[in-house]
Every structure is written in C-alpha cells, then in structure tokens.
C-alpha cells in the first residue's frame, strides 16, 4: 500500500522551480558560480537515483531536495569554499545596479557564520517557511524565527560595514 502511494508521487514532476530554489539555496551557502551549479546538478542526480525514498508524508519535494543539497555541501572538500568579493566601488559604473546589489548581498551573506548563512539560505534562497526550516534543522519554529531575526541583524550590520549597496529600483523586486 505504501509503495503504491510512493509510486504515484513524483517529487520531480515540475523541476524548473525546484532547480531555481535549490540553486538559490546552494549559491547563498557557497557562492554563485560553477561550484553551486555542480552541487545543484549532483542534488538532482541523487534525487533521481533515490526518488523511491521520497515520502510525501515527511515533507515537500523542495525540503527533500534541500536536505540532499545540505548534505552535499557539508560533505564537500573545504577547498571549494568560495571567497566572494565585492568589486571596487570605482568600477561599479561598469556593472548594472542589479548585479552590484546581488554581489553585495551575496558577499555580506558569505561573511556570516555558517549557521546564520544556512538559515538565510534556507529562508531566502530556498524560500522555505520557518516551519519547514524547523523540520529540516530539527528545531522549534519559534527558535528558527528568533535565529533568523538575529541572522538578519548580523547581515544588516555587515552590509553597514561594507557600505550601503546601490539603491535598487523597487519596481523590479519580485
């Protein structure tokens, strides 16, 4: 009965939004670029390989994929750690505001402690709810909300130290 139910549920039925959110999470964790692409690809390879192990009662497909990605990030060699640098302000004129803003934020996130970075990546990269994060980290929802609040405070402080990123047009926000 259980197997029949598992066969009916395909966690990768609509892959595109899942790819974007997994990549968002991974990129916030280790930085935007080829390594994030490799981790995302490996996440989906493993998901395809172990698709039968997905249990919809335990959570959403995204949470399952993020769990795989987290384990891959934690198991990767430390040499893959990216140092994200914000380009000099003098060269900023060559870059579009969006790109500069993104780089500044990613850089600020990369300066956070691993646990805070993980929380930010789970909440704003993977777009998980506090409840889903709590399930993933085996914490209480309230504890996650408090930890997120603190992580945002640290991030704001980091951005303040680096200097305010260029103002982004509000109309382009998604």
């Amino acid at each position: 009965m259980k197997e029949a139910r598992l066969l009916r549920v395909d966690p990768l039925r609509n892959p595109e939004p899942l790819i974007r959110r997994v990549y968002g999470y991974v990129a916030y964790r280790i930085g935007d670029g080829p390594d994030a692409e490799d981790i995302t690809s490996e996440t989906f390879e493993r998901a395809l390989r172990y698709k039968k192990s997905f249990d919809p009662q335990k959570g959403e497909p995204l949470a399952w994929l993020i769990g795989i990605a987290r384990r891959l990030i934690e198991g990767r060699p430390a040499t893959l750690e990216l140092a994200i640098e914000v380009p000099d302000r003098a060269d900023a004129g060559d870059l579009e505001d969006d790109t500069l803003r993104r780089l500044a934020l990613t850089s600020a996130v990369s300066h956070l402690e691993p646990r805070d970075r993980d929380l930010i990546a789970l909440r704003y990269g993977a777009d998980l709810t506090a409840r889903q994060i709590a399930e993933e980290l085996d914490l209480r929802t309230n504890a996650v909300e408090v930890a997120l609040h603190r992580a945002l405070g640290k991030l704001r402080a980091t951005i303040g130290e680096q200097g305010d990123p260029p103002v982004r047009k509000q109309g382009t926000a998604r």
């Binding site: 395909d10 990768l12 892959p15 595109e16 790819i19 974007r20 990549y23 968002g24 990129a27 916030y28 935007d32 994030a36 692409e37 995302t40 690809s41 989906f44 390879e45 395809l48 698709k51 969006d98 803003r101 993104r102 934020l105 990613t106 996130v109 930010i120 909440r123 704003y124 990269g125 777009d127 945002l152 991030l155 704001r156 951005i159 982004r168 382009t172 926000a173 998604r174």
Partner: protein, 125 residues
Amino acid sequence: MRHKRTNLETELRANRPEPSRELVHRLEGRVREGRRSRAGSFRVAFAGALAAGVLAALASVGGLGYAATATGDAVDQAKQAVRAHGVLVVHKSPSRDQYGPKAKKKKKAKKKAKGRRFARPPFTG
C-alpha cells in the same frame, strides 16, 4: 526598523542567485530522461514478468504431462515383465512348509461308547 527589515528580506529574495539558463535546461532534460527511462524499465519489467509467467505455465503443464507419460510407461513395463516371465509359484519349498497354509490332518474317528471303556476284555479261552 520594521520597514528596513522588510526591505532587506525583499532584497534577499529579489537578489537570490539564479541558475544559468543552460543549467536549468540541462537538469530539466535530465529529469525528463530519468522519467522516460523509468517508464521504459517498467515496460521491460512488465514484458519480462509476462514472459516468465507464460514460461512457468507451459513448464508446469509440460512437467505434468511428462510425469503422466512416465507413470504410464512404468505401468506398461511392469505389465510386460509380468506377461513375459509369468509369476513363478513354488509349491514345495521349506518356506512354504513353514509359513504356507497348513495341510489338514485327518482326524481319526474316535469311538466313544459309553461304558465300553470299562468293559470286560473278550474271553480268550
């Protein structure tokens, strides 16, 4: 304070790193391919199971037929053996004397005459 925090959260979501179009297409293709191969493997497995079932059915019928033929052959062979040599019955043998049916003994007729046991012997002179 609240407005500032909301802005930062919005910025974090809006500036979430996006995968390249090539990566998205490649992974979508990979997922579709995995789904197709899974469906294909199901078809192959179904065909294999069907073939195995048919073979098993045929083998069981064939086995029963073989067993029935073998039993018939054995019975025929036994019949032939009995017909060819016949059954040898030994009528006089030590074993038959010991275990065979006992021959009826002729009983001597006893003359039972009441009083004659004590009769006077015949006069002999």
